[in-house]
Symmetry: C2
Subunit: 218 residues, 2 copies
DNA sequence: AGATGATTGAAACAATTGTTTCAATCAAAA
DNA sequence: TTTTGATTGAAACAATTGTTTCAATCATCT
């Protein structure tokens, strides 16, 4: 009646399936990925997806949740969360961490690709991820920004500030195709990625610090 | 042998097909869109796609090229190109224009969606579009930035500056799913979109102006 | 009117998809 | 060893896909 759950632990084929599915989904997206391809890479029978997960869609949901969990474990926002540190340091950390998460190709950069796909073309699984992962991260960033710009900023403008920072980071993932074709060198090596993170941090901090000062145009 | 081209002008069914294809491709993406759906919306026979265009892929290419052409016509960068204007004004114009293009829902906002899809998940058609549309626009932005920050900035950092500005704008298209769920009000009306464009311009100008000044930390 | 050739319509085709089926196999308990 | 139930494997299924076919229709020119 309920074969998969009778198992004490996720067995090797189930694990291999999840790993292969992450690869294929990240590379081709949900619809372009085929169950047969996933099973072939996992070296298991084509019926296994429907045996261990009840459908391709359920497999995708689980892969997506796992991707968020793993990137969060691998790049925890511990320093950015430390409210005893000065906000400049915390923002720098937040950005560097965010960018590293997005551009990670070592562990398995599939995570970033998968998440970018989900944002660009959401499935039903997105809402759950927003609640569990994105909202907390958003609140963290808003807190840091509030420390930097002080009070007197409307809620809408606080959101815009956050999006200006996040947007700069996401650019390197969502528009990776453009960067690869226009200026691949700026994220070619870990050192260059670090420089890029530093650039975004300095750019954003300069903006946050001098925004209220230069209200009027020249 | 060559029936479609014998026609003096693109006929109504061909036009309707292009229009319907833009809608469907923008809404569902290339692969999720079906030829039958496109033909149904255009109210033509299912074989018409292969009659007027030789395949679904060729139809997509033509739709994509048309989308870029039309947005360019509708939102020309005339003011941003006018090098007699001060660079602050030109940047503000560039950003407002860029954002308006991305968020246009009136004419047929399908353009923005379609282009965002193509960037996030490129097909073979992207390279041609980069050459014809993106590189010139990039050069324009680089020129404006150069005027604002002066010489002494490496080419890599010039690219990073451009991407920081473009990234802020693209955020509102690529991550529209997040904005709709987290803070839809900031682009709910044309007035709010205008405020958002103004925010990005002020944020970026403050950063560009004070970036070199604040090299060291606090 | 008649002929020509482009266009349309309905059906069929071939390939691919996610899913299901069911007998064969394996591991562990009795 | 026998039995039980989970797992695997190969095949088949049903639905959907882009594409092709071909006769019917339409517009245009002689």
């Amino acid at each position: 009646m309920n074969p998969p759950n009778t198992h004490p632990f996720p067995d090797p084929t189930r694990k291999r399936l999840l790993q292969a599915a992450l690869d294929v989904f990240a590379e081709k997206g949900f619809h372009d990925a085929t169950v047969r391809d996933i099973c072939a890479r996992a070296d298991v029978n084509a019926a296994s997806v429907n045996y261990y997960f009840r459908s391709k869609e359920a497999l995708y949901s689980e892969v997506l949740a796992a991707a968020f969990r793993e990137t969060h474990e691998r790049y925890p926002d511990t320093l950015a969360c430390d409210s005893s540190l000065p906000p400049e340091v915390r923002l720098r950390q937040f950005i560097a961490n965010f960018l590293a998460r997005l551009l990670d190709e070592t562990h398995l950069g599939r995570h970033g690709k998968l998440i970018a796909r989900e944002i660009a073309d959401p499935t039903a699984a997105l809402d759950q991820v927003i609640e569990s992962t994105m909202k907390p991260r958003c609140a963290l960033l808003q807190g840091i920004i509030a420390e930097l710009v002080g009070p007197g900023v409307s809620e809408a403008d606080m959101h815009r500030l956050g999006l200006s920072i996040v947007g700069q980071c996401l650019m390197y993932r969502h528009s990776r195709s453009l960067i690869d074709r226009l200026c691949p060198e700026i994220i070619a090596t870990p050192e260059e990625i670090e420089k890029t993170a530093e650039h975004i941090a300095r750019f954003s901090m300069a903006a946050l610090r001098h925004l209220s000062a230069g209200e009027a145009g020249p």
